[in-house]
């Protein structure tokens, strides 16, 4: 498989913004300072909007699967329902149980949410459409996501409630045991693209459109990664930490109001983020199934023309989001298909199945890379 990499700068909003301010006579440093908050705010807002869309999709798709209607009175097709839910949580009384540890109880949800939001730093929507092209990219995400179980443990412990404690312990055990196969399957990708940076990983998949996506070269890794991501997000086959029938609501049992909303927001942002990362690592990120360079060449346009840049840039954003939401749809469908696993089955699956398979996958990838450096990133 030919994987020559055509790196076009594409839509670079930062450079354009700095040029624009430079034309107005603003100094370079000030222009940079003015630029800094813009992508952060954009990503934060789009993450929250993504969560609202996600909640709405979850409720509507769940309803459709069960032959119900779902929310329909709040806005057209109930599209404002998540907003109404969020508003309700915002205005609810903030309760800290009498014998709970107030500091840890407050710190828990924050520690769960912050790393998830911070991980959006490395999610690329285009060659230059990300907050920061950190060299350690995916590793940063893995490192940040292992902060989460600390927050879960904190909130579980500080609630002074047996269900919360059990839920927190389960969440921590689950996150830790699924982190390893997750990291190993990411490592196989990293080995093929010779870089931890998410942008490089996408570029490595951009040679021949849909055929150069990593899913064809890493089918096993894709499945492992997807299972681990579902476990990290505590999605339904693996939602033991908040298993309603056993643990009331797990570590969230004692939470209400805004602190509960933080957990809720965190879990859904995490789901969107995970879906985005699956699409970045395995489904070619912002890449269109047919390379846009070919399409532009077919139409006789230069890739660097301003209009083409805007079109390819927005196409990239649409493609990334589309792939991510297809995966979210799949996760929701999976939620109503697969029953919840037991805690021992969960740990068995993680340690006895996914871990060895991920290791073998890594070794096979390494061998294939040595044998076919062209196809597997020499």
């Amino acid at each position: 498989m030919q994987t020559f990499v055509v790196v076009t700068p594409g839509l670079d909003l930062q450079a354009s913004f700095l040029d624009l301010l430079d034309d107005f006579g603003v100094s370079q440093g000030l222009a940079h300072l003015l630029w800094l908050p813009l992508p952060m705010l954009t990503v934060l807002v789009s993450a929250v909007v993504g969560v609202l869309v996600n909640v709405w999709l979850e409720r509507k798709i769940s309803a459709a699967v069960q032959q119900r209607i779902g929310p329909e009175y709040a806005g057209a097709l109930g599209i404002l329902q998540p907003l109404a839910d969020g508003l309700k949580l915002l205005f609810k009384e903030d309760i800290i149980p009498a014998k709970a540890d107030g500091l840890l109880f407050t710190l828990g949800p924050v520690l769960v949410l912050v790393p998830v939001i911070l991980s959006w730093l490395v999610v690329p929507f285009g060659q230059n459409l990300l907050i920061s092209n950190v060299g350690v990219g995916v590793f940063l995400w893995i490192a940040l996501s292992s902060i989460q179980p600390i927050g879960l443990l904190m909130s579980g412990y500080s609630s002074n409630n047996k269900y919360s404690l059990l839920g927190g312990l389960r969440a921590a055990a689950q996150s830790i045991s699924y982190e390893i196969p997750l990291a190993l399957s990411v490592l196989a990708i990293v080995m093929m693209s010779n870089s931890l940076s998410t942008v490089d990983i996408v570029n490595q998949q951009s040679g021949a459109g849909i055929f150069s996506w990593n899913i064809w070269r890493q089918p096993v890794g894709f499945v492992i990664f997807w299972i681990c991501v579902l476990a990290e997000c505590e999605r339904l086959p693996f939602d033991l930490p908040e298993a309603e029938e056993e643990l009331v609501a797990g570590y969230q049992t004692e939470y209400a109001g805004m602190k509960f909303a933080l957990f809720y927001l965190g879990s859904y942002i995490n789901l969107v983020l995970s879906a985005l990362l699956v699409s970045v690592l395995y489904l070619g990120g912002w890449g269109f199934p047919i390379p846009v360079e070919w399409l532009a060449g077919l139409l006789g346009q230069s890739v660097d023309a301003p209009l083409v840049q805007v079109i390819t840039g927005s196409l990239g954003i649409v493609m990334t989001v589309l792939k991510a939401y297809l995966l979210v749809f799949f996760a929701i469908l999976l939620r109503w298909t697969v029953p919840r696993v037991r805690i021992d089955q969960l740990l068995d699956l993680g340690w006895k199945f996914l871990l060895p398979v991920a290791l073998v996958n890594l070794l096979v990838t390494a061998a294939l890379k040595l044998a076919f450096p062209g196809a597997f990133g020499g």
């Binding site: 699967v65 032959q67 999976l334 199945f353």
Partner: protein, 213 residues
């Protein structure tokens, strides 16, 4: 060595079969996505209870002879029959009758056995109350007739699945005159052979009976 290989083989087989079953399950859930919702928007739409529905019990005070059969056949002796013996007429005089619907299991035994048919089942099922004692209906409350779903102007009555025409799944916007699937008891009755004698045929007298060959 072979033990290890066998283990790996078993693992692979397990994984493949698990994937097969999950795919099958996903197919089922995905197929449900395109099906129409069967929701009845409850306070605005209500299903018409079937003709044998066992709802709240209706009671006619004037028909009652205070025989207390209803009490005896009740699994928990629930009906309270308050009567006194009138010495001059040597007859039972009924004063009060009550059934507590917070306790009743709607088995219908009392209705079945009442010798004067003063008890009957209604189609009323909305018995929510703020106080459980208000579910203890006396003879006045038991004598009230419920509002029929079909006559309530605030409610869209919907037919249950078995009362829909053949092949129709959605009860919405269906003309009230469309016949239900199968034959009505009257229609079954017409197909039965007429009894030659005046003596009533037990099968023909029973409207629910199946046609005799």
């Amino acid at each position: 060595m072979f033990g290890f290989l066998k283990k790996v083989g078993d693992y692979t087989q397990d994984a493949v079969s698990a994937a097969k079953y999950i795919t099958q399950g996903l197919g089922v859930t995905f197929d449900h996505l395109r099906r129409r919702p069967i929701t009845v928007q409850y306070p605005y739409e209500k299903l018409i209870p079937s003709e044998r529905y066992r709802g709240r019990i209706h009671y006619e005070f004037d028909k009652c002879i205070a025989c207390e059969v209803c009490v005896r056949v009740c699994p928990i002796n629930l009906p309270v029959v308050d009567w006194v013996m009138n010495k001059s007429t040597k007859k039972k005089e009924l004063r009060n009758y009550s059934i507590d619907f917070g306790v009743c299991i709607f088995c219908g035994n009392c209705v079945e056995y009442c010798p004067t048919n003063c008890l009957s089942m209604t189609e009323e099922y909305e018995l929510a109350a703020f106080d459980r004692h208000s579910l203890n209906y006396d003879n006045v409350a038991l004598g009230r007739l419920p509002t029929s779903v079909t006559s309530d102007p605030a409610v869209v009555p919907l037919r249950e699945l078995v009362y829909l025409p053949k092949g129709v799944m959605d009860p919405h916007d269906l003309p009230a005159t469309t016949p239900r699937v199968g034959r009505l008891p009257e229609q079954v009755l017409e197909t039965l052979p007429r009894p030659a004698t005046a003596a009533p045929d037990p099968a023909a007298a029973d409207p629910g009976a199946t046609p005799q060959p």
